[in-house]
Amino acid sequence: MTPIAALDGIEVRLGRLPVLRGVDFMVSPGEAVGVVGPNGSGKTTLLRVLATLLRPGGGSGTVLGAPLGTDQVRRVRRRIGLAGHQPALWNELTLRENLMAIARLSGLGETAADDALYRVGLTGAGGRSAGRSSHGMRRRVDLARLLLTRPRLVLLDEAAAGLDRSARLLVDAVVAEALGSGGGAVLVSHDAEHLGAAVTRVVEIEDGGMRVSGGRR
């Protein structure tokens, strides 16, 4: 079975500092991997490498079948969903308009966007300006985006941060949806407690190197 993502000996330096050293990592279809580590351990960097947004300085890997560092990654990017530290929103647009804009950029229709908005419980609040919405609401829109685009590889960075309990179930739903269609997910957090119930395997990262801390949590 082709892995969703496989990294072998990945090295990343940002400027002078090594951030990832010799990282081996794999996500199989139907698997949600949690990555836990202290601040500065390289979690976000790992996520960006998996998103094909950051080219590693050393090592090799594939994401959704495309070798990292080659042009082929362009073909798989649309199947990758990244919800980073900060929600990706245009502040002057309303929450609904943000989803609409993304739907149009993705080649999807308005009804799909409204549907996603409904599923995250924001239909009533869709007219709120994104810049004036709470962090929790902005986060929900980010997750709505993932429900909208239905990526094959879901990458979540501190996904549950600042969310109330019902919204945290959303994270599980997003992950479950990706896994259900044979995709994979990687969730990153500084605290294993925040990873959610969908995670099947947890690895620890520290100082840019990884340690598998065992199977189920």
């Binding site: 990017r77 649309r78 980073g84 990706a88 647009l93 804009a101 080649g107 419980g121 739903a173 044979g182």
Partner: protein, 243 residues
Amino acid sequence: MTEPVTTTVSAGPGAVPDSPPGSLHQLFETARRELVLEGRAGEVWGIVIPFGALALILLPLALGPDVPLLARVGPAVFWVVALLFGMLIALRQSSADPAELRDLQRLLEVDPAARLVGKALAGAVWLLGLLLVLGAATVVLYAPAIPVRWWMVPVVLMLVALGVAMAATLAGEVAAGLRSRSTLAPLLAAPLGIPVLVAAAETTDRLQVGGSILTPTLLLVMVDLILAIVIVLAAGPLEDATS
């Protein structure tokens, strides 16, 4: 805000179609969105244009109320202020997408050239507004001689707006994400704006004496074309550089 719906949905292939919408579509989508964003932020009409008008007042204050001299330098001052403040419009902080939005657009395979040209187009629209307001202010404050064929001026204004917007957008992208972007980008953009400035000033000079403005207008068109080509070529490499 209501409870989210967390029941599982039927599995299926990825929702997003295999290839992104066409570049032209993305271009107009970007331009439209940028226009809405600025329309709501109100930075151009609320801040930059008033500041530009203020700048027009500064020179006569420094020079003294020498009416014939002001009438002579009026158009030149107009173009200089238009160039410098026009760049501010295209380089304003709110027009710079933060890292997460850039990441998102990269993942959605938004054509970087379409994105940049779309941004420049939106910037050009706002710049045109700046030029019209400053032009009126210049006529009032400096009382230059109005050329007979004044109706040609809007054509020149449009070409200038395009040129300055493209130069500034390009510079803004080269400096994207850098700490010193707000100061570095204008420095990078200014040399690109000089041919535009020279050609524009030449058109108003010639119009005032009733001469032909074909040559400077052609130069403007040529510069705009060159800038457009450069943006399209540079967009891809610059996107790689933000990783």
